[in-house]
Symmetry: C2
Subunit: 157 residues, 2 copies
C-alpha cells in the first residue's frame, strides 16, 4: 500500500541554524522517501506600528521597507532552494510560503492551515545565555504546534 | 563515504504516546537507514522519600516496590521490542537503558552520557488541559537536551 503524502514544514530565516535544520530535515526525514512535500515557511516581521507618529514614515520609506522585506524573503528562499538542490533528492515536491507577523503564531497557524505532519525548526545552540534569550519560537512551537515538532540543534563545534 | 553511526534515543514508558513515538521514530527516522543504533530509555520514578517515616515501610514492602519497578521496566521494554520487531527493519542495533530519578533530568543526562544525536519523546495530545497539566518532560527536554529533539504528537482521531 502506498503511503499517504507527508507534508514537512521547515521554518527558514536568515540564520545559519535554520539552514542547518533544513539540511538535517532533508538528510534524516526526507532523503529519497516517496510522497513527501517540503514546505519552506518564511515569516516576515510585522510592519512597524506607527499609529500616532505616522508623520515619521514617508510613503517612500514605507515602500522601501516593504521592498526590503520582499528581497529578504526571496534571498532566504533562494538559499533554502540551493540547499535542497545540493541533496539531489528525487521526487521531492516543494512549496514556498511567506507569512507575516509574530513568528510563533504564524508558524502554528500555518501548521494547522496547511495540515503539516511535521514541523522542523532550528535553534540556537546550548549555551545558558543563548537558551535564556532566544529559542523561544522553537520552545513555543514544540509545545503548541498541532503536529510532531523537530527542534534541530547544531552540535557544538 | 559511509555515514557515522547515528544514535537515536527514544524515551519509553507505560503510555500509548511513548509507543506511538517509537513507531514514528522507526518509520520516519530509521526505516532501513544503515548505521543507526536505537537506544530505548526507561526512567523509573525515584524511590519514595521516607527519611522520618521509615517505620511506615517494612523491608518487605520496599523489596516488593523494587520488584514492581523492575517488572514494570521489563514489561515496557518488552512492549517496545515487540514494536521494533513489527517493523522488520534490517541492521538496527538496539540498546536498553534503565535510569532512575526525575525523568527530565535523567533523560537529559543520558543524552549527554551516551552521546545521542537525536532524542525522540512522545507527548500527550493537543488539548488545553492536557497541555497545561502534562507534557512538561518533553517541553523541558526540547529546550535543554543537548541534541536534536523530536516531540511526537499523535494526530487527533
Amino acid at each position: 500500500m502506498e503511503r499517504k503524502e507527508r507534508k514537512i514544514m521547515v521554518g527558514v530565516d536568515e540564520s545559519e541554524e535554520s539552514m542547518f535544520a533544513l539540511s538535517w530535515c532533508i538528510t534524516n526525514l526526507i532523503a529519497d522517501t516517496p510522497n513527501v512535500k517540503l514546505v519552506l515557511l518564511y515569516v516576515k516581521p510585522p510592519p512597524p506600528v506607527h499609529s500616532f507618529n505616522v508623520a515619521w514614515y514617508s510613503s517612500h520609506a514605507i515602500l522601501a521597507m516593504e521592498q526590503h522585506g520582499k528581497d529578504l524573503a526571496n534571498s532566504v528562499m533562494e538559499r533554502a532552494e540551493a540547499i535542497c538542490k545540493d541533496f539531489k533528492t528525487t521526487n521531492m515536491k516543494k512549496e514556498r510560503v511567506v507569512g507575516c507577523g509574530d513568528a510563533k503564531d504564524v508558524i502554528c497557524s500555518a501548521v494547522q492551515k496547511l495540515e503539516a505532519d511535521t514541523l522542523v525548526l532550528g535553534t540556537h545552540g546550548y549555551g545558558f545565555f543563548k537558551r535564556a534569550l532566544i529559542g523561544s519560537v522553537s520552545d513555543y512551537c514544540a509545545k503548541h504546534a498541532e503536529c510532531t515538532v523537530v527542534v534541530v540543534k547544531q552540535p557544538c563545534p
